[in-house]
Symmetry: C2
Subunit: 328 residues, 2 copies
């Protein structure tokens, strides 16, 4: 099977929203009047972002999910994406699985595959995603990292730490009961981009980003852009985040240190971290209900720079939690 | 040097045209009212698209040039691009050269680096580029592959075959005089995207695409989308295209077969092939002058499907010329 047959069979779809999809030199989009276009690009490399033997359907899902998560963090509505794919060889079974997982998630979000590239090379998946953000009164309404103010609450959506738990288990560092492993592995391999929540938080949240490299490191970027600091209650982080998905955690299957490590620095969570004024607590919960996505308040923004961890009694929690760095 | 320092040092630039550039979850573009957004993605893999020891500045140039060439083929004005980069290791000398070549070409076209991704992995460069195309009377004015009509002339810009000549020389298949090699190698490693010509041809050309895999193969896509055929004069192709850059060719340094192979199926040319009605010959030449880019008429569109090659006397020319296929 040649390059053009491969594209025709697995990656050419109707594009009712785009002016022109796959098959010409460029795709053509016509953004709705009064909108800005939000754009994000993520590259996934075998051995770095996924195991060589990962289910191709899960990989297709995740490759798009991590990009949709960036749109979610900006409060953008998904519109379209391009896919550039380097493949060691043409394996039709793999391609059918990969494109199936990819396009199922794309369809669920009305996000059209409009173009891209295929080439021979070490497996590499590069997706660039496009979303729309409304402009109101001349002001774009995207959620940005800058905007958090002293006194704001700090929230995280869903649960944290599951992906890291699965990774540690798959690497043989810890043993997990089968049911817990399956649940954690689903979070690692098929993350849920919080697209509806991001859009519901426009006009409510003051700042937002998605948690991909670990909560503390990512939140540090938000604090830096907003020129503020924060205090997080680690007991809320642990009890309210991880235990939702894993009652076993509450039963102390793992040490407190490991729980903190997973929740605060786990990575690959693809939840949203965001800030909102205390006066907006009802609005935040209404947005969460509208998006059918739980959110948990885990701290507050301080005027003083830096990120402080405290326990349930407000006492400082020691420990360093390294965020993921691709070149560290 | 970590991921974020690397991005800050080599890939963060002012973006006066974009609403938001590198540094948040998404970049934000606000396309001008009454425009469509043209989008293209190309991935370059070491060993497949470039030699491991290629000059990093040339590689940076080429990675963007092949994407700008797709915008040119649609008649789009460059606006912005994202860069996703997998690097085996952080090599600051390489990064300085690569980003220098990349951003020099970007600046020359007013094309802003607005976002992307960096990760560890086998060297892979994925660029997605964005351009603007005007909408006039509700109709987008992008040049498409469909649109060629029987009786139209067929044109090619610039010269063809140089990149293939350089590739054959660098692989030791042929010997080239040093001056000719340097000239051909510059075409291979630093192709010139025909951005001004593409825009000048809006409203003049009936169909267009860029020549990246070889003239005959690429033209075949245009004919297929337009549901027409074509007859090309190979004597015009050789004498008027290749000999412009390489007088040595005219002196019969190489066999006729090899000249035809380079011109008709060479690949990596990044010229525009396009069609226009015979009544538009003056307009085509005016567009070429405006863009300071020579164009050559090499054939005509036929109602009958298929691509026919004839010599200067209209006699059929035999031979099969394979286009580049990444998985063939």
């Amino acid at each position: 099977m040649g390059e053009f047959d491969l594209i025709a069979r697995y990656f050419t779809r109707p594009t009712p929203r785009a002016v022109l999809g796959v098959g010409d030199d460029c795709a053509l989009l016509q953004p709705a009047p009064g909108t800005q276009l939000a754009i994000s690009s993520d590259m996934l490399v075998e051995g770095r972002h996924f195991f060589a033997d990962v289910d191709p359907g899960a990989l297709g899902h995740k490759a798009l999910a991590v990009n949709l998560s960036d749109l979610a963090a900006c409060g953008a509505r998904p519109l379209a994406f391009t896919l550039a794919l380097a493949l060691p060889r043409v394996d039709e079974r793999w391609l059918a699985g990969f494109s199936g997982g990819l396009l199922a998630l794309a369809d669920a979000h009305g996000c059209e595959l409009v173009g891209g590239d295929t080439t021979q090379g070490p497996l590499n998946i590069c997706i660039t995603v496009f979303g729309e953000v409304p402009v109101v009164g001349g002001q774009g309404r995207a959620l940005l990292r800058a905007g958090a103010r002293a006194g704001d609450d700090v929230y995280v959506s869903g649960t944290l730490g599951d992906a890291r738990l699965a990774l540690d288990a798959l690497r043989g560092r810890i043993a997990l009961p089968a049911g817990l492993l399956a649940q954690a592995r689903a979070r690692l391999e098929r993350p849920t981009p919080r697209v509806a929540l991001g859009q519901a938080l426009r006009g409510v949240a003051t700042a937002a980003l998605d948690v991909s490299d670990g909560l503390l490191g990512d939140l540090g970027h938000l604090l830096g852009k907003s020129r503020v600091g924060a205090t997080l209650d680690t007991s809320l982080a642990i009890e309210l985040l991880a235990s939702r998905a894993h009652p076993a955690w509450a039963a102390r299957l793992f040490s407190l240190k490991m729980q903190l490590e997973c929740v605060l620095a786990g990575g690959d969570d693809y939840e949203l971290a965001f800030t909102a004024p205390a006066s907006a607590r009802d609005a935040v919960q209404a947005a969460a209900r509208q998006a059918a996505t739980p959110v948990t308040r885990i701290g507050r923004i301080d005027a003083a720079p830096g990120l402080r961890l405290v326990d349930g009694q407000g006492r400082p929690v020691a420990g360093r939690y390294a965020s993921f760095d691709h070149f560290a």
